[in-house]
C-alpha cells in the first residue's frame, strides 16, 4: 500500500510539473507582451518597463518558469517585497497575492463540492439500486427516463430556472450565497441548498444510470449465483455481494467528479454567483489575469490528480479482488 502510494505520488508530481510547464509556456511565452496585460489601459513605456522588471517578465521564459516553481516551494522575493512560501505571484489586476486569494475562495468551493457530492452520491446510488432491484417494472422505467432527462439537463438552464422559480418567483428558497459554516451553520445550509440540489440533479443521473447497469451486470456474476445457491436471502445477496462489485467503477467516477468539483465548478458557481475557485477562474479569464489563472489551473489539476490516487487506493478496501502492486 505504502509503496503504491509513493509510486503514484511521484507520478502525480511529474504530471503536475508537466501541466505547470505547459500552462506556463502557453501563458507567458506565446502572448506578445504579458506585461501589457498587467499594465492596464493608460500604459506608457516607462510603467511597462517597470512592471516587466518588478514581475521579472523581462527575463527569458525558462528562467521565469524556474523562478515561479522555486517560488511555490520556497517563496520568492519581488522588487515590491517578499512573497511567502507557496508563492504563485501577484494578480495582474488586484495586485493581491494569488495564493491568498485562492485560499480565501476555497471554502465556498469546498462547501459546494462536498455538500453537492453527498447529495448526488446518496440519491444517485439509491435510485440506481432501486431501479436494479425492481428491474423491468414501471419503477425502473420511470427512474431510467428520469435519469436520461437529468443527464441531458444543463446547469446554466436548470440553475437559472430554479433561481427564477424558487428564489425570485415563489420566494421559498434563499438567494444562494456563501456564509462561513463556523459563523452560522443554518445560514450556510440555506445559502448552499439550491446549488446543491441543482448540482445533484445533473450529477445524480449519471450515478443512478451507472449503478443500475453495474448492479444488473453483477447480479449475473458467478459469485452472486453461488451466494444465491447457498440459500442466502436476496437482500444479503443484493447488498453484501452484488453491491461490492458494482461500487468500484462508481467510486472511480466519483473521484474524478469530486476532484474536478473541488477544482472549481465553474458553471455552477457562475450561475449562482458563488465566489469560489471556479468563478475566480472565469473572472481571471475575462480580465486576462495570467498569474491568477496559472494558480487556479495548478490547484485544480492538483485536486484532480490527488483524487485519482485516493480513488485507486480506495479500490483495495472496497473490492477484495483488487490488489495494489
Amino acid at each position: 500500500m505504502l509503496r503504491f502510494l509513493a509510486r503514484r505520488s511521484l507520478g502525480a508530481i511529474v504530471i503536475l510539473i508537466l501541466i505547470s510547464a505547459i500552462t506556463f509556456f502557453l501563458f507567458f511565452a506565446l502572448p506578445a507582451e504579458p506585461a501589457r496585460l498587467a499594465c492596464g489601459k493608460n500604459c506608457d513605456p516607462t510603467s511597462l518597463a517597470m512592471i516587466n522588471k518588478n514581475l521579472g517578465l523581462d527575463q527569458p521564459v525558462p528562467v521565469q518558469y524556474w523562478k515561479f516553481m522555486v517560488g511555490i516551494v520556497a517563496g520568492r522575493d519581488f522588487a515590491v517585497g517578499h512573497c511567502a512560501a507557496p508563492c504563485f505571484g501577484y494578480s495582474f489586476v488586484s495586485q493581491e497575492p494569488v495564493w491568498s486569494t485562492i485560499v480565501d475562495r476555497f471554502p465556498t468551493t469546498l462547501s459546494l463540492a462536498l455538500g453537492g457530492a453527498a447529495v448526488f452520491l446518496v440519491c444517485g446510488i439509491g435510485i440506481g439500486m432501486i431501479a436494479a432491484w425492481r428491474r423491468g417494472t414501471w419503477i425502473d422505467k420511470f427512474f431510467s427516463s428520469l435519469s436520461l432527462l437529468g443527464a441531458s439537463m444543463q446547469i446554466y438552464f436548470v440553475g437559472v430556472l430554479a433561481l427564477a422559480w424558487f428564489v425570485s418567483g415563489l420566494g421559498i428558497m434563499d438567494q444562494p450565497a456563501y456564509y462561513p459554516f463556523t459563523d452560522n451553520p443554518a445560514k450556510w445550509f440555506s445559502g448552499m441548498l439550491l446549488p446543491w440540489v441543482v448540482l445533484s440533479l445533473i450529477f445524480m443521473a449519471n450515478y443512478s444510470r451507472m449503478t443500475r447497469s453495474q448492479m444488473v451486470e453483477q447480479l449475473q456474476e458467478d459469485h452472486v449465483r453461488t451466494a444465491r445457491a447457498k440459500g442466502l436471502s436476496s437482500r444479503t445477496v443484493f447488498f453484501r455481494y452484488a453491491w461490492r462489485g458494482a461500487i468500484a467503477p462508481i467510486i472511480t467516477i466519483f473521484g474524478i467528479d469530486l476532484g474536478s468539483l473541488l477544482g472549481g465548478a465553474m458553471v455552477t458557481e457562475y450561475t449562482f454567483t458563488l465566489h469560489g475557485i471556479g468563478r475566480l477562474a472565469v473572472e481571471s479569464v475575462q480580465l486576462t489575469d495570467l498569474p491568477m489563472l496559472m494558480g487556479v489551473m495548478l490547484v485544480s489539476s492538483a485536486a484532480i490528480v490527488v483524487f485519482n490516487i485516493l480513488v485507486d487506493a480506495a479500490y483495495a478496501f472496497i473490492d477484495p479482488r483488487v490488489r495494489l502492486a
Binding site: 439537463m153 444543463q154 427564477a164 471556479g278 487556479v296
Partner: protein, 335 residues
C-alpha cells in the same frame, strides 16, 4: 463488432416472415439497418436529430419565410413593444404573439426565434467541426498506438494520461484567450470567424483522448486475431491491414463514441459562451442566449425557456440515438 461469428446472432434476432428470406446473404450493414429501423425510439430520436440539423442548415430560409432576422432590434425601433422603464416586453410571456412566435429579447428587443435558429446553426457548426477533428485524431492516435505497440504505444499512452489529467472545463476557459492572443493582438477586435476557430481548436485539443484510448484497446486485441495474422502472412502492408482488417471492425465504437461526443461538444461550447469566453455579441449562439437569459431571469424567464427546452430535447435525442446505434450494431448488449 462485425466479425464473421456475428452472423449467427443476427440470424437469430431476425424475426420470421418476409424479412428472414435470405438473412445469410445480408451484409452486416443491412442487418444493422434492419435492427435499427425496428427500434422505434431510435428512429424518432434520429428524426429529431435530423430536424435540428435541418434547422441549422436552413436557418436563412426559415428567417426569410418568417420575415425577421436575429440582429435587428425590433424593440428599439418600435417603442410600443418594450416597457420603457424596465426594458421587458410589454406583452405577457416575453412578448409572444402572432408576430414574434417565441417572444422578443428584453432591453434590445431582438426576435427570439431567429436568434435561436441561427444560434443552433453556430453551435452545431462548432460542435460538428470539433467532433470530426476529434474523431479523426482519436482514430489515428488510437490505431497507431495499438498497432505499433512498444515505445510508440508507451509515449502516446502517457500523452493521453497527461491530457486527461488536465482540468478539462478550466482548460477550455483558460486557453480561449491564449489561443486568441497568439493570433490577434490584444488591441484589436477579435473577428467572429476567429473566435469560432479558436473554440473548435480548444474543444478538439482535449476531446480526442477517450476515443483514442478505447480504440487502442480494441486494436490491441484485434491485432492478435487470426484474420489479421493471416493478412500479415500473405504479405499485406500495415496500411492495408489497418484499412481493410482493423478499421471495419472499429466502426461500431467509432460511430457510438462520436454520436455521444457531439452533444458533449455542443453543451461545452454553450457553457463557454454562457461564461462569456465563447461566442460573443452580436453573433447569435445557443449558449450566449443562456448568458443573456441569466441576466434577466427575474423579469422575463420566457426568453431562456425556448433555447433551454430546445437544448434538452437535442441532448436527449442524441443520447437515445447513441444507445440505439449501439443496440443495432451490437445486439448482444443488454439494457
Amino acid at each position: 463488432m462485425t466479425s464473421p461469428s456475428q452472423t449467427g446472432v443476427a440470424e437469430k434476432s431476425a424475426p420470421g416472415g418476409t424479412e428472414s428470406e435470405a438473412p445469410a446473404g445480408l451484409a452486416p450493414r443491412q442487418l444493422m439497418w434492419r435492427r435499427f429501423r425496428r427500434d422505434r425510439t431510435g428512429v424518432i430520436s434520429a428524426c429529431v436529430v435530423v430536424f435540428f440539423f435541418a434547422v441549422a442548415v436552413l436557418a436563412p430560409v426559415i428567417a426569410w419565410l418568417y420575415g425577421k432576422d436575429p440582429y435587428t432590434t425590433y424593440g428599439l425601433d418600435r417603442p410600443e413593444l418594450l416597457d420603457p422603464l424596465t426594458g421587458y416586453p410589454m406583452k405577457p410571456n416575453g412578448g409572444i404573439d402572432g408576430e414574434f412566435w417565441f417572444g422578443i429579447e428584453p432591453k434590445l428587443g431582438r426576435d427570439v426565434l431567429t436568434q435561436l435558429v441561427y444560434g443552433i446553426r453556430t453551435s452545431l457548426l462548432i460542435g460538428l467541426a470539433a467532433t470530426v477533428l476529434s474523431t479523426l485524431t482519436g482514430i489515428v492516435i488510437g490505431v497507431v498506438a495499438g498497432y505499433m505497440g512498444g515505445r510508440t504505444d508507451y509515449f502516446l499512452g502517457r500523452l493521453i494520461d497527461l491530457l486527461l489529467s488536465f482540468p478539462q472545463q478550466l482548460f477550455f476557459v483558460a486557453f480561449m484567450p491564449v489561443v486568441t492572443a497568439i493570433f490577434v493582438s490584444p488591441q484589436k477586435e477579435t473577428p467572429t470567424y476567429f473566435r469560432v476557430t479558436a473554440l473548435v481548436l480548444v474543444l478538439w485539443l482535449l476531446g480526442w483522448m477517450q476515443l483514442a484510448r478505447l480504440l487502442r484497446g480494441q486494436v490491441l486485441s484485434l491485432r492478435e486475431r487470426e484474420f489479421v495474422e493471416a493478412a500479415r502472412v500473405t504479405g499485406a502492408s500495415p496500411w492495408r491491414i489497418v484499412r481493410k482488417e482493423l478499421l471495419p471492425n472499429l466502426v461500431t465504437p467509432i460511430l457510438v463514441q462520436s454520436t455521444l461526443m457531439l452533444p458533449n461538444f455542443v453543451t461545452a461550447e454553450a457553457a463557454l459562451s454562457f461564461l462569456g469566453v465563447g461566442v460573443v455579441e452580436p453573433t447569435p449562439d445557443w449558449g450566449r442566449m443562456f448568458a443573456k437569459g441569466a441576466n434577466f431571469y427575474e423579469g422575463d424567464i420566457t426568453y431562456m425557456f425556448f433555447p433551454g427546452i430546445a437544448m434538452v430535447v437535442f441532448v436527449v435525442a442524441f443520447n437515445l440515438l447513441g444507445d440505439s446505434v449501439r443496440d443495432a450494431m451490437d445486439p448482444k448488449t443488454t439494457r
